[in-house]
Point group: none
Chain length 272, copies 2
DNA sequence: GCTGCAATGGAATTTTTATTCCAATTGCGT
DNA sequence: ACGCAATTGGAATAAAAATTCCATTGCAGC
């Protein structure tokens, strides 16, 4: 039987489909067309569902998978599921290994962090919701002033926001804890707040966001998990999941999001 | 049993998770955390896989689904399969889609910055000189104290250094210009300075680096061009060229370099 | 119009996966 | 330390899904 090798990637699979789709019997052609049109369904459907979608019987769809070089539907589905699920490497394990091998060379370490950044960026592209992004930008550019709060790890993101907004002439205030001063009363109705925090969430950031909301200001949240404590506070929730490496998290995706926000807001504000 | 209604959307589900996650037994809490961190996996995994990911037995995960208001795992999975069906082509396709959403639209802008970040990371991997990196790490981990100076755009990198070194218990001082105070006399022989600046170079950063060098401290420079004004000051020159989009430059590569430096220095310092 | 071969549909079978149930264990209040 | 209730792990059961097999259908060449 399997004179043909099983495709190792979705691209390979599509190539093979193109190759053979000319000389395919009617039902199998239907399968090919349906798969080509709805590749995203494969990962989450059963053979029965795929077959029905293609207008054929399950056994026909089954044969189609085999013609493609798979042992059956399950094997083909596995390929799609693996591609679909973000495959973060298991960094806990990797870091462990790196430590074992004599702390590893710094270049190897750097390579890992570069990889982590790359994955985070890819993931951002896949998960960002354009509508929320649009809404956040509208809110920020309509605000009289943009307040920024982000502490600890998120402080560097907050600092970048402050720098970049400043450069785009958007009125901005960076909230920090220098001198133990409480600056939350500077937030007024009609203003907007960008609150940035990642697990373990910083209490001060959340409190400031809550206070701002209560005082009639809009809040745009940048956070990591869907279960972030900022979620109850605002619908404008931009989630960025960064690959972390041990205790250290990449900030690549977060900063890319930041700069995109700033430029979009700056452009809109200027147009008015 | 089902005193609670079954969630009709992922938002509803997450709300409920938030509600109850406080008073949840250990294993069910593990499930909640795992689901919150990898919501995308649910659609394409079996209970057994999810349970393993959460570090619990399948029956525990099962109970978790029921606590959430579902009849079982299958019903919960159906919710995720339906809503995630539209998302998720691969990275390249997705990025293309974001770009197509109209030149100047926020999504398109974000796509450009993501791409810029990726290019920067790739470039960093190719151009970094392992020997300079090694030498920089050695210098920093031998220092009594690490001073950090970076202003304007580089300030967010400096802030990140300060945060991360602090977390690794490396004695650190972040130099800023708050209050117009001059803190350069805090730098003593045997200390090291990380100076970060990009074109157009910030005068204060360069002056501080010069002063430090004159006073007998080592300087590690993070900068963008070979012709950087920091070059005459120190041989420990880590150059990072970031891709830019418009006037805005990514910081992805610089931050990846920063975290790699910190972890390597932290590991070495601890080993002593 | 018959023959033989490829294609098809449907039913039977096997495998995988979800779900339930119960016994063992843990942790808590007394 | 004891008993009780809640929690947990594991095995048994039920359900669903994949896969195979075979009888039937359609179709090309003779």
């Amino acid at each position: 039987m399997a004179g043909v090798s099983t495709p190792a990637s979705i691209e390979e699979l599509l190539d093979r489909m193109l190759d053979i789709s000319g000389g395919l019997p009617k039902r199998l052609k239907q399968c090919a067309d349906y798969v080509a049109a709805n590749p995203d369904r494969i990962a989450v459907s059963t053979v029965a569902e795929m077959a029905e979608g293609a207008g054929v019987k399950p056994s026909a769809f089954m044969r189609f998978c085999q013609v493609l070089g798979f042992s059956g539907f399950s094997q083909m589905q596995r390929l799609f599921r693996e591609t679909y699920a973000q495959n973060w490497p298991d960094y806990a394990t990797r870091l462990e290994k790196l430590r074992e091998s004599g702390a590893g060379s710094p270049s190897a370490l750097l390579a890992e962090f570069i990889e982590a950044g790359r994955l985070s960026l890819e993931n951002l592209a896949k998960t960002i919701d354009p509508r929320t992004l649009d809404a956040a930008i509208k809110t920020l550019s309509d605000a009289h002033m943009v307040h920024i709060i982000g502490l600890r790890r998120a402080f560097s993101v907050a600092a970048y926001f402050a720098y970049a907004f400043e450069k785009m002439n958007v009125p901005t205030m960076l909230h920090d804890t220098v001198g133990g001063l409480d600056s939350r009363h500077a937030i007024r109705p009609g203003d907007a707040v960008i609150a940035i925090t990642f697990a373990p969430y910083t209490r001060e950031t959340i409190e400031l966001a809550e206070a701002a909301r209560a005082g009639g200001a809009e809040v745009v949240a940048i956070t990591d998990a869907i279960a972030s404590p900022l979620r109850p506070i605002t619908p404008l929730l931009l989630t960025v999941s960064e690959a972390d490496f041990g205790d250290f998290r990449s900030l690549s995706a977060t900063l890319s999001l930041a700069v995109a926000l700033v430029v979009a807001v700056g452009a809109r504000a200027r147009a008015k």
